[in-house]
């Protein structure tokens, strides 16, 4: 990936705690895209721990880190703001940030995560803590679905229940809004025969294909790019897939309420009569609207929650 400059990072060291937040607000007002306030610790100095349960406390001495778009003169804005607060003698540091730098820090933050009994998501550079479990290997990147979000966990545990009930054996699975492809890959590892992943982001389609390869299920997973605009042709038909192959025993979609409401007819068309539906990416208070949108084609709705998030499951009606 091209190492282009995406931001200019400007740091002001040793800002008194009492004015740090105001300095941050001013820098934001003058065009910073983001401003972080951290502890200022001259090398070797002791840490001053601020605990989560103390409301609004800041460190006595702070470092303020502002990111500016490349076209702004971040260095000049930082210098004049420092002077306005009487901090012109404090150390200022300016450096270009390239797209790669923060991608690396994303990489560093992923560890194996247990989703359920005998079910783990393992980043590609880690060892699976339980080799006998179902381990979904993922390369965490820019696509959504690393196992940390409650919605991914809700959907994966649902798939695991389907597996235990035998509903995945030999099944065809549609993962609409696939992101990293984690749900499609999981279904295949759990016994599904074939899976299709579809997403509006080209990066997600690539990630789905890459993750399928990591788990040895490439031959059974097909990934398609689809348009966000539902007036555009349905992606599988547009790719020349025959009608029988556009029907699935299990349809799962972990997106957001907005698109889900509009997608009801399409997801219904994908699901065989008596087939199973799982929808997430919705908050508990959004489930009623979602169920209403899907009730012309689905029945036996159930809702399960984790934190503020919900999974809505249903069965495809045979009469519509």
């Amino acid at each position: 990936m091209a190492a282009e400059v995406c931001s200019i990072k400007c740091c002001l060291a040793d800002v008194p705690g009492g004015m740090a937040e105001e300095v941050a607000e001013v820098l934001l007002a003058y065009g910073a895209q983001s401003v972080a306030v951290e502890e200022y610790r001259p090398s070797g100095g002791p840490e001053q721990e601020i605990y989560a349960d103390t409301e609004g406390r800041v460190w006595d001495r702070c470092t303020v880190v502002a990111y500016f778009p490349p076209e702004e003169d971040g260095a000049a804005i930082l210098a004049s703001t420092a002077a306005d607060f009487g901090l012109q003698d404090r150390k200022q540091l300016v450096e270009a940030v390239r797209t790669q730098d923060w991608e690396q820090s994303i990489r560093d933050s992923y560890q194996p995560a247990q989703v359920g009994e005998g079910l783990w998501i393992v980043p590609i550079w880690s060892q699976a803590p339980d080799p006998a479990a179902t381990n979904i290997i993922l390369e965490p990147g820019l696509a959504f679905g690393t196992g940390d979000h409650p919605t991914t966990r809700l959907c994966l545990r649902w798939l695991q229940r389907l597996q235990q009930a035998g509903s995945l054996d030999g099944a065809a699975v549609m993962d609409y809004g696939a992101g990293s492809g984690v749900l499609a890959v999981a279904a295949l590892l759990m016994g599904a025969e074939r899976a299709v992943g579809s997403d509006v982001e080209p990066l997600a389609v690539k990630a789905t294909q890459a993750n399928a390869a990591l788990n040895g299920v490439s031959e059974r997973l097909a990934a398609y790019l689809c348009a966000a605009d539902l007036k555009q042709p349905e992606p599988l038909a547009a790719a020349g897939i025959e009608p029988q192959q556009r029907l699935f025993e299990v349809t799962v979609a972990n997106i957001l309420q907005g698109p889900l409401l509009d997608l009801a007819p399409r997801l219904a068309a994908y699901t065989k009569p008596g087939g199973l539906l799982g929808l997430s990416g919705i908050l508990q208070e959004q489930t009623a609207a979602v169920m209403e949108a899907y009730s012309p084609w689905f029945q036996s709705f159930q809702v399960e929650g984790e934190e503020r998030w919900a999974l809505v499951t249903a069965v495809r009606r045979t009469d519509t």
């Binding site: 995406c6 931001s7 990072k9 937040e21 941050a24 607000e25 934001l28 895209q33 983001s34 401003v35 972080a36 306030v37 951290e38 721990e49 601020i50 605990y51 989560a52 349960d53 800041v58 880190v65 990111y67 778009p69 940030v97 797209t99 730098d101 923060w102 991608e103 820090s105 994303i106 560093d108 933050s109 992923y110 820019l142 696509a143 959504f144 679905g145 690393t146 940390d148 979000h149 919605t151 957001l256 309420q257 907005g258 990416g281 919705i282 908050l283 959004q286």
Partner: protein, 149 residues
């Protein structure tokens, strides 16, 4: 294990509702603290799903040393409300000299009431005064009655 989490940084940024993505400003800001960028994006986009498109939402994220985080959303910047109310797309070129658009006192009071959600200890009148200052720097005229706007 009951030791409370320690804070690594507080991060401020403004993101349009429903539009959090890993690119700047979110990417570098959260990446620097080692936070899970996509998790934040999905969470933020879901929570702002019912907001009007393009509403700028100020966010304050508390990043902990264990790489977890919490965040709160605040009301959009005053300038956003004033722009909308005055029906303008940009501020005045010569603030204080050239009046581009106007807003009524009544409307200003409504905006103040919204901003008071973030400023609960500040009296409404003080917020109104502050908003009038913002109007002036944007070149927006404040008029007494809606009919005069």
């Amino acid at each position: 294990m009951s030791k409370p989490k320690t804070v690594a940084a507080t991060i401020r940024l403004v993101i349009n509702a429903g539009q959090a993505k890993p690119s700047p400003p979110v990417g570098p800001a959260l990446g620097q603290a080692g936070l899970k960028i996509m998790d934040f994006c999905k969470d933020f986009n879901a929570k702002t799903a019912t907001f009007k498109d393009d509403v700028p939402v100020p966010v304050v994220i508390t990043a902990f040393t264990d790489k977890t985080f919490t965040y709160v959303m605040k009301t959009p910047p005053a300038s956003y409300f004033i722009k909308k109310a005055a029906g303008m797309s940009g501020g005045s070129q010569k603030p204080g000299h050239q009046h581009v658009a106007s807003i009524s006192l009544k409307h200003l009071h409504e905006i103040a009431a919204v901003k008071q959600q973030d400023l609960r200890l500040v009296p409404l009148e003080s917020i109104c005064k502050s908003l009038m200052g913002t109007c002036r720097s944007m070149g927006v005229r404040v008029v007494a009655r809606p009919e005069d706007a």
